[in-house]
């Protein structure tokens, strides 16, 4: 295959870059080793930062965040719930940090309106009585799945090609240039050689591995962050702890749930990461200091992502490493490759800017002069992304009122008709509508039952549609339920534990799904 620009990585950066380049008239091909947002783009808070979190550690990144925050609210409002945010300190927090906060925000151009503790508690009644200081900021909630799927959808309309489940297995170089990139499809096993004028490494936490295939060393520190999804939404606004950034200090509402996080744990590899029991307990204990209800409510899922932190040394606190992005043009590095660019680090909030700067560099390499449009053109809303929005499927289902359109997922009210549309859209992209692919593109499996019932209902329906054949469903069911399990395993107590017991009683006790396949080796320890 041939293309002008090969983009490696289907997270927010890669999909944002694909949109940016195709809007400039540059042809590109995006390869993703798993599915869209499988890495940190899907494993984060969904927080559109005001920037106030970074005023102390990285004022430049803080100011950048704030500019992008305002821009995205204008250009992609359908991906954003403009909740506003609060920074609150509780008794015992560092009073110097609290005292310096407004001035440091001002320096970065970030509005922060002071509130009395009473005002703050009137705005957010769930806040602790121990609040001693509060500021209102411009934080918002953003749906990273919608964002990536919409970016990708427009890119594809403009001719971008897409290869999912396609991992880069080799990069052949000659005379300081990448000649071909070998890609292998996990599902079909087929290998493809790709020739491109420029190759962009937007593989996030995997950027080091990709660069290594081209013989380029990039030192990346992996910092795992774990997050918890509450059973119901707590509060209207993003609530941040007003202190130096640390664990369990941000609660982001989104749709019908809230997301509490995060942690920062060094890990040695971006693969096979799990949220752990001790992280969950730590996040809850920390969060409960701001919002006491967090100690007792039900959580339905835990998940994590890996922050790729590009740094020159192993020393120091991972949180103090810049959250700004790194754009590396390997033409100017040693060892060098003239048609290879790596973009890594950064934040969800600044993904568009990262894509713009990368596209600028790509265009310079291509001697293609066409200006960026993503800072002025609105991001179109597409059907591909809309079903990740909580509440959308139920409201349309109620409106349509067709008794034949049966709900496959009762927790999140996802009917057959929604699955039909998702299957169609995946097929239009020549993809296989697997259970996990549909799970990624809808609310299926994300409610309190965590897939106990909807998994098999979906599998049965996909067989009826002819989307599954032979014993494919058994393997996909296992994969689907294992994927949900990752998020349940560390928070199984109280009702969630009873739910998990029922899930196992049915899928293992009755259906014997554990007897279908050997478990992956080395993945069997408690």
């Amino acid at each position: 295959m041939e293309t002008q620009v090969l983009i490696i990585g289907g997270g927010v950066t890669g999909t944002g870059l694909a949109r940016d380049l195709t809007l400039r008239g540059v042809a590109c091909l995006l390869v993703e080793k798993q599915d869209i947002n499988a890495g940190a783009s899907g494993g984060n808070h969904g927080l559109l930062h005001s920037g106030a979190r970074y005023i102390a550690s990285d004022p430049a990144a803080a100011a950048e965040c704030h500019r992008e925050n305002l821009l995205l609210k204008q250009l992609a409002p359908h991906c954003i719930e403009d909740t506003g945010g609060l920074f609150v300190a509780v008794a015992g927090d560092d009073e110097n940090y609290v005292a310096d906060f407004p001035a440091k925000c001002a320096v970065c151009g970030i509005p922060a309106r002071p509130l009395t503790p009473t005002e703050a508690r009137q705005m957010e009644p769930a806040l602790s009585k121990d609040i001693i200081a509060a500021y209102a900021v411009d934080d918002a909630a953003i749906d990273p799945f919608k964002l990536s799927l919409d970016n990708l959808a427009q890119a594809r309309q403009n001719g971008c090609q897409l290869m999912r489940f396609s991992q880069v297995t080799g990069i052949a170089t000659r005379s300081g240039r990448i000649q071909t990139v070998q890609v292998r499809n996990h599902l079909t096993g087929r290998a493809t050689d790709i020739r491109a004028d420029v190759v962009v490494n937007a593989a996030g936490a995997w950027a080091g591995q990709v660069a290594a295939l081209a013989g380029i060393p990039i030192h990346i520190r992996y910092s795992k962050g774990s997050l918890l999804v509450t059973h119901h939404r707590i509060g209207g606004r993003v609530i941040n702890r007003l202190r130096k950034a640390t664990d369990g200090d941000i609660l982001v509402p989104g749709g019908t749930v809230s997301i509490l996080g995060t942690t920062s744990e060094r890990c040695t590899s971006p693969d096979d990461i799990h949220p752990k029991v001790h992280e969950v307990d730590h996040i809850i204990d920390e969060g409960a200091a701001m919002i006491p209800a967090l100690a007792t409510i039900r959580y339905i899922r835990a998940y994590c992502g890996v922050r790729p932190l590009i740094s020159s040394s192993d020393e120091g606190d991972d949180r103090s490493v810049s959250r700004g992005y790194a754009l590396i043009d390997h033409a100017t590095e040693d060892p060098g490759l003239e048609n290879f660019i790596t973009i890594s680090g950064g934040k969800l909030t600044t993904f568009r800017l990262m894509a713009e700067k990368t596209a600028d560099r790509v265009c310079r390499r291509l001697s293609h002069c066409s200006p960026c449009r993503t800072h002025c053109d609105p991001l179109p809303q597409t059907v591909d992304a809309r079903w990740t929005e909580p509440g959308l499927a139920p409201s349309l289902w109620v409106q349509n009122n067709d008794s034949r359109d049966i709900l496959l997922c009762e927790c999140e009210m996802v009917p057959q008709s929604v699955v039909d549309q998702i299957v169609q859209s995946i097929r239009n992209q020549n993809g296989h509508p697997s259970l996990n692919a549909i799970g990624l593109r809808s609310r299926i499996g994300k409610g309190p039952c965590q897939g106990t019932f909807c998994s098999q209902r979906l599998a049965a329906y996909l067989y009826d549609l002819g989307a599954l054949t032979h014993d494919q469903g058994l393997h996909e069911l296992r994969q689907f339920l294992e994927k949900r399990w990752r998020g349940q395993q560390p928070l199984l107590w109280d009702i969630s534990l009873a739910q998990a017991e029922l899930l196992e009683a049915m899928h293992s006790g009755l259906f014997g799904l554990e007897q279908v396949d050997a478990p992956p080796p080395g993945d069997d320890r408690p």
């Binding site: 799990h274 752990k276 029991v277 001790h278 307990d281 809850i284 008794s403 034949r404 049966i406 709900l407 496959l408 019932f453 098999q456 209902r457 599998a459 049965a460 329906y461 067989y463 009826d464 599954l468 054949t469 032979h470 014993d471 469903g473 058994l474 069911l477 296992r478 339920l481 294992e482 399990w485 990752r486 395993q489 199984l492 107590w493 109280d494 534990l497 009873a498 998990a500 017991e501 029922l502 196992e504 009683a505 049915m506 899928h507 293992s508 006790g509 009755l510 259906f511 014997g512 799904l513 554990e514 007897q515 279908v516 396949d517 478990p519 992956p520 993945d523 069997d524 320890r525 408690p526």
Partner: protein, 435 residues
């Protein structure tokens, strides 16, 4: 709670209405023990209707046994703390036979081969090994073994059950499967199995269904369909359909909760009171203090209780987490009614494995009540806590019924053993002299 509250006195209080509680009430009633049974019925709706005895051991290698008694003998050697090891094969067999005899007499006929396990197919297209199964499911085993030409029927609007899925999944093993989707007589839109089952009990409906299946039979010599063939009159609906089609018919278990569980529930609810069990269904016990004379006093319905039960002995069959016999917070697992010691992993980190479908099962499944040979819950030193408190069913420690496929057998056998132990206690101990 005041002493003036109305009091129900009984010799034996059975707490729980799952398979273990129902079996215990049955065994107690048949032995003439003065019994009160309390609990929210509902969990037994989640029974599949299949009576597993033991088919997987050891779980790590997930070896499947065709002879459950050989499996049990090996299990008793390998796992001396397993409840089956306390109970012993003879008692297990006696309990199973007595329960199945009761079901047959209660017009809910079951089939089994005394010396071997049997196989059924599931909606996923997997093959499940079990021991005794409803007569309405029995024809599948022969058909599966001989790969007999078979028509699988499903219904539009019945979620999670696709004949096409079963056919596709079993294709290699059973190539002569065909699938057809037929409208369900008199119902449309989303179908609930319980409604379908009750509808099939209406005169004439089974014949309508048979007529619509018949035109698709072609060379099929056996017909499989989801388990919806009636609830109280399953035998009649099943025979009616089979006669009308002229070929053997079998039901396939559905997702849970299932009609097959409702049948068991209704059967017990109908017969146990008739046999003398004073049933207090839909009432719950949240605590049961022991009096100075050794008897237990249990307010029905918790805080606002209007009635209390006073019992000389108790069988605790309250289930695990789903049944609320055990409860876990973030740090520890507790037994909910008597606050009995619970054998459990050291910390939550060790409750579950990273892989859901780990063959070995999750350590938390082995948590529960440690009992002695008379099924009396014990302390950490292995001494029984009360001479007149017995435990039965899934609340017992050192078993993993989900992976071992021994849920019903464990419930029935431990209920049988607990009733016998309770009976000995009651016979040996004069009234009001418990200890």
């Amino acid at each position: 709670m005041s002493p003036a509250q109305p009091e129900i006195r009984c010799d034996l209080l059975i707490i729980g209405t799952g398979m273990a509680g129902m079996a215990a009430a049955l065994f107690a009633a048949r032995r003439g023990i003065d019994t009160v049974q309390v609990g929210m019925t509902g969990e037994i709706n989640f029974a599949s209707g299949l009576l597993d005895l033991l088919s997987v051991h050891p779980t790590g290698s997930h070896q499947t046994w065709s002879n459950p008694w050989e499996a049990i003998a090996q299990l008793i050697i390998d796992q001396p703390h397993h409840p089956y090891a306390h109970i012993g094969a003879e008692t297990i067999r006696a309990g199973m036979e007595e329960l199945i005899t009761f079901l047959n007499e209660a017009d809910l006929p079951y089939r089994y081969q005394p010396q071997r396990n049997t196989q059924v197919i599931t909606p996923l297209g997997t093959v499940k090994t079990t021991y005794a199964l409803p007569e309405s499911m029995a024809a599948v085993e022969k058909a599966l073994q001989a790969a007999t030409p078979c028509l699988l029927v499903d219904f539009p609007g019945l979620k999670g059950f696709s004949a096409g899925q079963i056919r596709a999944t079993l294709q290699k093993r059973w190539p002569a499967l065909k699938a057809v989707r037929l409208p369900f007589p008199g119902l449309s839109g989303e179908l609930q199995t319980e409604r379908m089952a009750r509808r099939l009990e209406t005169p004439g409906v089974a014949n309508l269904l048979a007529a619509s299946i018949r035109s698709h039979l072609e060379d099929a010599r056996v017909v499989g369909l989801p388990a919806v063939l009636g609830i109280a009159r399953t035998r009649q609906v099943f025979e009616n359909l089979q006669d009308a089609l002229g070929v053997p018919v079998f039901e396939i278990p559905t997702m849970l909760p299932a009609v097959t569980g409702v049948r068991l529930r209704e059967c017990f609810e109908r017969h146990l009171p008739r046999m003398g069990v004073r049933a207090r269904y839909q009432q719950k016990i949240v605590s049961s203090p022991r009096l100075s004379d050794g008897e237990f006093i249990a307010p029905l319905g918790g805080e606002s209780a209007e009635v209390q039960v006073r019992a000389r002995a108790v069988i605790l069959a309250s289930g695990r987490f789903f049944g609320q016999g055990l409860h876990a917070d973030r740090h520890t697992i507790r037994e909910t009614i008597f606050n009995l010691p619970v054998y459990q992993p050291a910390t939550r980190t060790h409750w579950h494995r990273k892989t859901l479908f780990s063959h070995k099962g999750h350590p938390i499944h082995k948590a529960g009540l440690v009992v002695d040979r008379l099924l009396r819950p014990c302390d950490e030193q292995g001494r029984y806590i009360y001479p007149n408190l017995f435990a039965a069913g899934s609340i017992l420690a050192h078993q993993d019924w989900i992976r071992q496929k021994c849920g019903s057998g464990l419930a029935i056998a431990s209920a049988y053993a607990a009733v016998h132990a309770g009976q000995s206690f009651l016979n040996l101990t004069p009234m009001n002299k418990v200890e």
